[in-house]
Symmetry: C3
Subunit: 155 residues, 3 copies
């Protein structure tokens, strides 16, 4: 049976989860841009306070950290610490031939809790809630990697 | 037809783009090292100002941020925010069976604009130019992920 | 011959190395949490000093950088600069059909030196030793990417 195909139900489940997470990650870059434009600040490179069509009235305060921009940067950093590993672990996990139901729970559960984590971080909920929403995704990731490792080792 | 093979023209196009981008990303680590050695500074860990054969004359100022080193670190951070997602989205996009011409435009267009973005960032061009060179790559990435998502959902 | 299968010895070697590295990367997130809990500090978001069940006695100093937490964050950053590229380059390298022996040396060599690098960074060994342990992994990564590029280009 062909596993690595968008026609395979388990692989398609992975591909849906993976592309939603990729689009979410890319959206953070755009959200950073939107917030930098809104604040006319939160820039990071010395050349960003040169006078240009997009920045007609520059001043050095534009290089100071901006709270609304830094929040998105922290969220993006959290994505970078998690998503690339999910993307690869999820792909390899498909090769262990999980049932469709297990794949759906794990992949869509990951996506759902990551999106909830994003909503909680964006709206500055408590550290406790953020931690509670981050943990299931991390556990799913550990499970998928550990399961793949066991199968790859031939156990 | 075998898709995931370096003999398949579309997959080979992806593999060329992916490996060029990986080599570019790895080069940032080496460029950071080169600039730290040149500046004898820009270090980040307290233990980096211990006297060693590579650092025979240490002093605490070596831990202060160095402009030339920080520039490469910002460029590398931009890579981390973009390339891992391109690498996975590009792989999945191959499975949607694009034509070779479309694949070449998207993959090589991504590589070309990322290398131009790097050149602009390295030489401290304006934020406007950097943004103009970052945008096509991000749009290509969004297109590939969205297209894969649609196919994986069965539309 | 089926290459992308956990039953294929070369691919299984890749999968073992990849999942061990993924588990290592995820462990950094958990180690950050452990050290933040131990120090009751090293937090980064303003909302993290709100009174909650997990932080019953908040104070603003909890947002100051904590040395033990920052060390893990630097180690994790080093992972992010290296591992995602290894994960993809390693996968593509399998498609060049290396011998099992070559694959084992490269993949397990990468894992061994990365784990040694982690041990050296965690225990604050000299910059020289850290560099010596980082370099082989980076060279292996460059070799795998360059070899794949050559094969993909049809040389």
């Amino acid at each position: 049976m062909e596993r690595i195909s968008l026609q395979d139900p388990v692989f398609a489940t992975y591909a849906v989860a993976a592309t939603v997470m990729i689009l979410k990650a890319v959206a953070m870059s755009w959200l950073t841009v939107v917030r930098m434009m809104g604040a006319k600040g939160g820039f990071r490179s010395p050349e960003d306070i040169r006078k240009t069509p997009l920045n007609p009235d520059p001043n050095p305060a534009q290089l100071a950290p901006n709270d609304r921009v830094e929040r998105i940067r922290r969220i993006q950093m959290n994505d970078l610490e998690n998503l690339p590993f999910f993307l690869v672990a999820g792909f390899l996990f498909v090769l262990t031939q999980p049932s469709l139901l297990v794949a759906q729970w794990l992949f869509y559960g990951y996506v759902a809790t990551r999106l909830a984590h994003f909503a909680a971080y964006l709206t500055a909920q408590t550290h406790d809630l953020r931690a509670a929403l981050w943990t299931p995704g991390s556990v799913i990731l550990i499970y998928m990697a550990a399961r793949t490792l066991i199968v790859a080792l031939g156990f």
